[in-house]
Every structure is written in C-alpha cells, then in structure tokens.
C-alpha cells in the first residue's frame, strides 16, 4: 500500500500529463503483478462493493477519535471529503503494516454482507495499521469514491508503455466486465484481444469532440456525413457465439434492462458489434420520446409490463464495428456504413433496430438550417463524421464532431449555497436557484454547480459567508440578490419538484452582475418552454 500511496502522491504533485504517465508506468513496472492489475482495475472504474456506508464510517471514526458527531460533521464540511476527514481526525496508527494493495483489496472485497461488528473491527484495525495518505486511499476504496486524478486514457497509455504493447490494444483489453481479483497481468497485456474469442467484450467507444463556431472550418462538405445527435443511451450491442451483451458507454451491462432488445441476439448473426443509441420510441410519431421517459426505465433492474408498453425502446445504429467476427474499425466510415445498412436491411420487420439516418445536405449553410430543427426532432444537435476515417478510439479530435444546438437559457437568482467537494472543498460552488413566482417571491427550480471561474467562486464564497441568513447543515440560505444566467438542454413536468418542472443538465453560463433580482425570469415564462410541441419550429434560444 505504501507504493500505491506514493503513486497517489506523485500524481497529486504534478499537473503535467507526461509526469503522470511516467509515474503510473513506473508503478506498472515495479509493483507486484496482482497490485498492478488492481491499479488498472481501479483506474478503469472497477471497484469492490462498498464495505461500509458513509454513515457507518463516520460513526466508527468519531468513536475512534473521541469526537462528537456534530464535530465530525463540521470537520467534514471544511475538508469537503469524508474519506479525507476521517484520515485526518484519527490518532496516528499504533500498529503500522505495509501490506500489498491486493491484500487490502481482498480484505475489503470479503466485507460486504458481513455483520456490522465484524466490518467495524476490520476497518478499525486497518486505520490503526495505515498512515495518513494510505488511510485516505483506504477510505476512498471502502466508500467506493475512489478517484486518482488521472483519466482512464492516461492509465491506458501508461499501462501500454509498461507492457510494451499498442495503446489501442490495451484499451480494448480493458473493456468489459473483467474482475481485478481474478484477472492476471498477462490477461491485461498479452495475447490477442478481440474477435470471436473475446466473449462479450465491447470495443472502446468513439467520442465526438465539441465543434466550436461553425462547420466551415471542416473544409469540403462532400467529405463529411451528418447524423442527428440522439439524446438517449449510447450503447454497444455485442452478438458473438454464445454471448449477447448490451454495454453502456460507462461499460455497465444493460442487457437485462431492455428485454425488447433480446430479440437481437437471434436476429443478428454471431460476430456482430453495433454502436448505436437506445431510445424510448414513439412509434406513432416516428420520433424518440424525451430522455426523461427513458431515464425512468434505467433505474430499474427489471422492467414491468406497463413500462414496456408505455416506453418501448428502439436502437438507432450509428456504426458497425464487427461483422462476421471481423474487426471493421480500420475501414473508412462509408464502408462501415454500407455494411451496417446491408446488415440491418436484411432483418425481418419488427426488429427494433434501424440505421440512424444520414442527413442529406447541400453545403454547410443548409446543414446549419437542419441543425436548427434538431429540438423538434427530439435530437440534441448533429454529429459530423469524416467519411474516410477509421472508427476512432476514444475522444480523438478530428474524425467526429458534435454540433449541439444552443441550450435554453433563463436568468435566475441564487437562493441557497452549499460548499463543494474535493478541489472545491470550503468554496461555495453548489447553488439552488429560483425564478420569480409572480407574487414578489421566488420559487426554487434548479441546482447548478459549474460554469464559473475559480475567481468568481471565490468572490461568491466570501459573499455567502458574509450574507448567510440561515444554516441548514451544510446549506446556507442567502438573500435573493445574485443573478445568474443558466443554460439547460430540456425541461419536463415534474410533480416531485416544487416548481413543477425539472431541467436537464442545468449549468451556469455567467454571473449577471448587471441584472437585479427584480428583473429575472418568471416561473410562468419557464413553464412556457414546456409547451414547445415536438416538431414545431424552435423558439429563439436566448431568454424566455
């Protein structure tokens, strides 16, 4: 664990990508093989089940440190991170041990489901064996909140360097649901990946970069293909001999969440991998339903019949990655697309998968006009793909661009503020906003915590501290004075929210120092956005 903590410290002590990769590669060369596998697993989001809840850990730590609960709470709000708070308040360890990471992980993996007294004893013993930095890591592993400030991409690069393999190959090998407790170093770094032998393993998803400004910069439109950017769940459908899997972009297995897609296991020939979007589908209108409808299904492990009838899903396919067991990713987009269309057009009617349509367009200006219709089509904008490019691995700037429509915006006033976590600990960065209720008051309708600069957050933090009206635990009520322009992607009726609406992806566009709270938007104006009928011409996106 000492070397793993040293790796953590080294990653923490630099902002240079090359230094981070070098530190990781060193670890992948020097650490015991089982520890390396765990490191790769943890940094690609594979964690054991939580061995204890946050409340349990906090209580055990308070007891061990001889502190009342309220003081733990107060300390937590200042440190901004429970794992760190606990690591800091505990007295120094009395029985230091340096056990390998894999040992600790084995211990942690065995704890879920054990009686509380047993889990408590194991955690207290671990705290007493570890020093500050190790304790912090241990706590993060216990609570499942483990992050190390390096992306999976950097970890993959470092692993490839240490193993002397190609980065794309390692990226592919790291996909799917392998278990760090069972996998070996050789599994991750040697042998041939992909193809029919790889079970249900998906390929790394290609991600589009945001197109800033217009599409003119991409050059000749003839070299580009355009599709709607659907607002559903990006997925890979893997059909291989004896295996059928639907993977989300976050590599979660979703096969059982969409029973209506089970038919694809038989309809598609073995050795087929499709990249597409799962959408709740309005068959009558021929358009997707809003994301919120799909979202209601995602949370469920099993889907009741009623939901299947109300919100059936359909896949709009973007790409064909594997055909007859052959990896097509090296072929140009146009060739893969032709294969996709040929494959899907041969399917019997009623199979819920179709190619996502390519949009005909005659020059960039015409395409910009199509983009403006996206909201009415139930799409978030367009995706532009280089007709000649291979399927990109990960987010590589160049071959794929997303060209999203402008969001809705609303001017709102801050009503409550809460301190953030991690880098934003002790800074008031999470705000609850209100719109005018039309009777001189404000009704809360959205929370947002991104979009401002560090300097602005610092200034607002000082203001919140000086202007707090009331404290509810970590939340502070402030006078309705500071006005912000919020952007959001969509708005839905929601009986669960006080304002009766729920926003999709709200964030702060800017702090409007020029605008008094008396001039912000009203709930009535906000609700009018609900009335934008599907298929109608879009309203002006600025203001409401």
């Amino acid at each position: 664990m000492k070397d793993f903590a040293a790796l953590f410290a080294a990653l923490d002590a630099t902002t240079r990508t090359s230094d981070k990769v070098a530190a990781l590669a060193d670890y992948f060369r020097a650490a015991p093989p089982a520890d390396r596998v765990w490191c790769a697993g943890l940094l690609s989001g594979r964690r054991p089940k939580r061995a204890a809840g946050a409340a349990e850990l906090r209580a055990w730590a308070a007891e061990a440190a001889g502190l009342p609960d309220w003081l733990m709470e107060e300390s937590h709000s200042v440190a901004g991170d429970l794992a760190e708070t606990i690591a800091l308040v505990l007295p120094p360890p009395s029985a230091r041990q340096d056990r390998p990471l894999a040992d600790w992980m084995a211990m942690l993996s065995a704890l879920p489901g054990r009686p509380p007294a047993e889990r408590r004893a194991a955690v207290l013993a671990a705290w007493d064996a570890l020093d500050g930095a190790e304790r912090l890591l241990f706590n993060k592993l216990v609570t499942g909140g483990f992050r190390m400030g390096v992306s999976r991409g950097l970890m993959t690069r470092a692993l490839a360097q240490a193993a002397g393999r190609a980065e794309t190959e390692i990226a592919h090998r790291l996909m799917g649901d392998w278990d760090p407790a069972a996998a070996t170093w050789d599994d991750l770094t040697a042998g041939e990946p992909g193809g029919a032998g790889a079970g249900s393993r998906p390929y790394p998803f290609a991600l589009a970069s945001a197109l800033e400004g217009g599409a003119e910069a991409l050059g000749d439109p003839a070299g580009w293909r355009a599709e709607w950017k659907w607002d559903g769940i990006r997925a890979q459908i893997v059909v291989r001999p004896g295996a059928f899997a639907i993977w989300s972009r976050g590599e979660e297995l979703m096969t059982d969440r969409f029973p209506e897609l089970a038919v694809l296991a038989r309809a598609l020939p073995p050795g087929t991998v499709i990249d597409g979007e799962v959408l709740a589908w309005d068959a009558a209108a021929g358009t997707p339903m809003p994301f919120a409808v799909l979202q209601r299904r995602i949370g469920r492990k099993t889907v009741p019949r009623r939901v299947l009838a109300e919100a059936p899903v359909r896949v709009l396919a973007y790409d064909l990655l594997e055909d007859k067991g052959r990896d097509l990713r090296g072929q140009p987009f146009d060739a893969r697309r032709a294969g996709l269309v040929a494959l899907l057009s041969a399917l019997p009617a009623g199979v819920p998968v179709a190619p996502s349509p390519l949009l005909d367009f005659d020059g960039w200006e015409a395409l910009a006009a199509r983009r403006a219709q996206a909201r009415g089509r139930g799409a978030e904008g367009l995706v532009l793909k280089d007709a000649a490019a291979p399927y990109p691995a990960g987010r590589r700037r160049g071959p794929w661009w997303k060209w999203k429509i402008d969001p809705h915006t609303v001017d709102a006033v801050m009503l409550y503020a809460q301190a953030g976590h991690g880098r934003r600990a002790n800074l008031y960065t999470d705000y609850t906003f209100g719109v005018a209720d039309g009777e001189g008051g404000f009704v809360p309708f959205a929370k947002a915590y991104s979009g401002l600069t560090d300097a602005e957050f610092g200034e607002i933090t000082r203001w919140v501290r000086a202007n707090t009206l009331e404290r509810f635990g970590p939340v502070r009520r402030v006078p309705p004075v500071l006005v912000f322009e919020l952007a959001f992607e969509g708005i839905q009726e929601s009986p669960r929210h006080k304002a009766g609406v729920a926003l999709r992806f709200p964030r702060m566009l800017r702090w409007r120092r020029d605008k008094p709270a008396a001039e912000i938007d009203t709930l009535e104006g906000l609700r009018r956005l609900l009335d934008v009928p599907v298929g109608a011409a879009p309203r002006t996106p600025r203001g409401i």
Partner: protein, 338 residues
C-alpha cells in the same frame, strides 16, 4: 455591584477599561499593546505602542515612526489599575501573550501561538489565568501537525531532489516567522536566496541576535541550479518567480509551507504542486493542551473556527464564548493569511 470585566470586546478590538488600553486593535486607538508584528495584529495609527523588546525592530520597520516602548519577557508594567506583562507565544520571534492582572484576577490574551518549539521563536510558555482569550485558526480536529523535524526533512528531501535535477527550489512561506523558521531548521544543502519581503525581516532578526544562516537577495537570472529561494506566497504565481533561474538552471520547482496544506482541496485549488504542512499556529491537540494548561474556567475564542471550537470547549465543561474580530467574520477562511 459587580465591577466591569477586566477585558471587554469592542469594535476596535480587545479593551481593558481599568488600564485604558487596547490589545491588537484594528482601528487607531490612544494606547495599544501589541502581541507581534504581523500586519493583522500591529496596525498603523495608534498613539502609543507597547510590545516585547524582541518584536519592536520589525514593527518599527513595518510601521515607520511610532511611539513605542519595549518590555522584557515577564517584565511587569503598571497601566492604570492593572499590571501588564508579556510572555512567549511561540508563534514567531518576539511574539507574546498578554497577561493582565488586577487584584489577583488574571486574564491572558494569547495572540497567535503555537506550542511546539520551532528552534527560533521563544518557546510558548503556559500562563495560569482565570480567563483566557485564545486564537483558534486551526480549531478543528482535522488539523494535527507532525513534528517539525519530519516536515523539515521532507522539505530538505524535496530541495535535494530538485538540486539533483538541476532545478531551483522556490518555497512560499510568510515573510516574518515562517521564512526564518525554515531557514534556521534546514540543513545547508546549498545557497539560500530570499525575496525582498523575506530578506528585510531576516536581516532585522539576524541583527537582533537570532541565529540565521546567510542569505542573499534573489535577483532575476541570478539564482543558480540547486539553490533554495524563500518568498512570500503571493510571489509564487507572478513573473518574478519565473525569471529567477540563472542560465543553466532547469527551471523552478515550487513548494508552499502552510498549515492549510493539510487539506487536499485547498492544496489543489491553489495550484500548489508541493505542499508542506507547516504552521505557526497551534493544531487541535495544541490548542486543547494550551487551554488546559492555563487552568482558566473561562475561555474566549477568536480568529478561526470559533463557533465549533467554542461549542467543543463548552462540551468539555468550560465557560466558552466567541469573540468577533474584524479580520475573520467567520472561521476558516483558507484563502486568508494564516
């Protein structure tokens, strides 16, 4: 009729009605007793200043022409109806606690303090009191310092590694106190340069007889590879830092020494690549030990996490209350100075 309390808390700061003086007032007053030379304690514009002999040279340097008198450690001075004496607070060289006595009743104002001896400042001396006014900058249990020797060894290892890589080491530390403490405690691994805001107090303290190694003023392009530069934290971000290295040096590695570096969020937010947890204030065990050592049943807390710390002390059976100050309306502003 009950007499007026020995010390009261006013909008100018702590006031002693029976003596007619303020302690570390933040607005101009006729007569001020000053605990130490940091700018949030020694303000300009008072009619008369009283401080330790050891604190006066830096105060004069910072405040210019002032009417000031110095006291020796523990030396008693009669002011009005009270006796005033100054006792080491261990915060920075010359920093004092203020003991005020009237007819056997003793109140002590801590000023800023730390309990671990740093090898340079006069070590903290517990003073028995009936009432104790304590700072609590780090008054939460998440603040627990490691022994100074360990932290200095860490800084030395960092300096050594930078030197091996041909780099200049630049460490941010408050110009009065922390800077000299680091200077005095580090082994001589190479030449040490200072920013002007560090060099001046260093020269003054050296002239007073504090044992400090030789330093030179850092100039653009004049700091060779392997050297250490000590500068105030504010100088780390600017162009001054980037211009330091002499030809041949492989750039500058930056570090920052502060108690706030105990918190990862703050360290990351400040963009500090290397944080050393080194404070001139008492940590949680230190505050609790210092308060216990006064034997005071009444404790007033100020500067820092006052609300939770006061509640904690109340839970421990003390009669504790919060003193508001002009410099931190609320505890724990990590963006502020230590």
């Amino acid at each position: 009729m009950a007499r007026e309390p020995l010390l009261t808390f006013t909008d100018r700061g702590i006031f002693c009605p029976a003596g007619g003086f303020h302690i570390d007032p933040w607005r101009p007053v006729d007569r001020a007793v000053i605990t130490h030379g940091h700018s949030d304690h020694a303000r300009p514009g008072h009619g008369a200043y009283l401080a330790t002999q050891a604190a006066l040279p830096v105060m004069r340097h910072r405040l210019g022409e002032i009417a000031a008198e110095g006291l020796g450690w523990g030396e008693e001075r009669r002011i009005g109806d009270v006796a005033v004496s100054l006792h080491p607070a261990g915060h920075v060289p010359g920093s004092a606690q203020v003991r005020v006595e009237r007819g056997g009743e003793v109140w002590v104002v801590s000023g800023d303090y730390k309990v671990e001896p740093d090898g340079l400042s006069e070590p903290f001396e517990p003073v028995r009191a009936h009432a104790f006014v304590s700072e609590c900058t780090f008054g939460l249990p998440i603040f627990r310092w490691r022994p100074q020797a360990e932290v200095m060894a860490e800084i030395a290892a960092w300096w050594r590694a930078n030197a091996a890589a041909g780099r200049v080491s630049l460490i941010g530390a408050y110009g009065l106190g922390k800077a000299q403490r680091i200077l005095a405690a580090l082994p001589g691994l190479g030449p040490v340069f200072t920013h002007g805001a560090v060099e001046a107090p260093t020269a003054i303290l050296r002239a007073q007889g504090y044992r400090l190694p030789a330093t030179a003023l850092a100039r653009a392009g004049g700091v060779p590879a392997g050297a250490l530069v000590i500068a105030p934290p504010s100088a780390l971000a600017g162009p001054w830092a980037a211009r330091l290295p002499a030809p041949g040096a492989e750039g500058v590695a930056q570090g920052f020494a502060s108690g706030w570096m105990a918190l990862r969020g703050i360290r990351r937010r400040r963009g500090v690549t290397r944080g050393f947890v080194l404070s001139d204030h008492a940590d949680w065990p230190g505050l609790n030990a210092a308060i216990a050592a006064t034997g005071a049943p009444r404790v007033f807390v100020t500067h820092g996490y006052t609300a939770p710390f006061s509640r904690w002390l109340t839970d421990q059976g003390l009669d504790a209350a919060v003193v508001p100050t002009a410099f931190s309306a609320e505890g724990g502003d990590p963006e502020g100075a230590e």
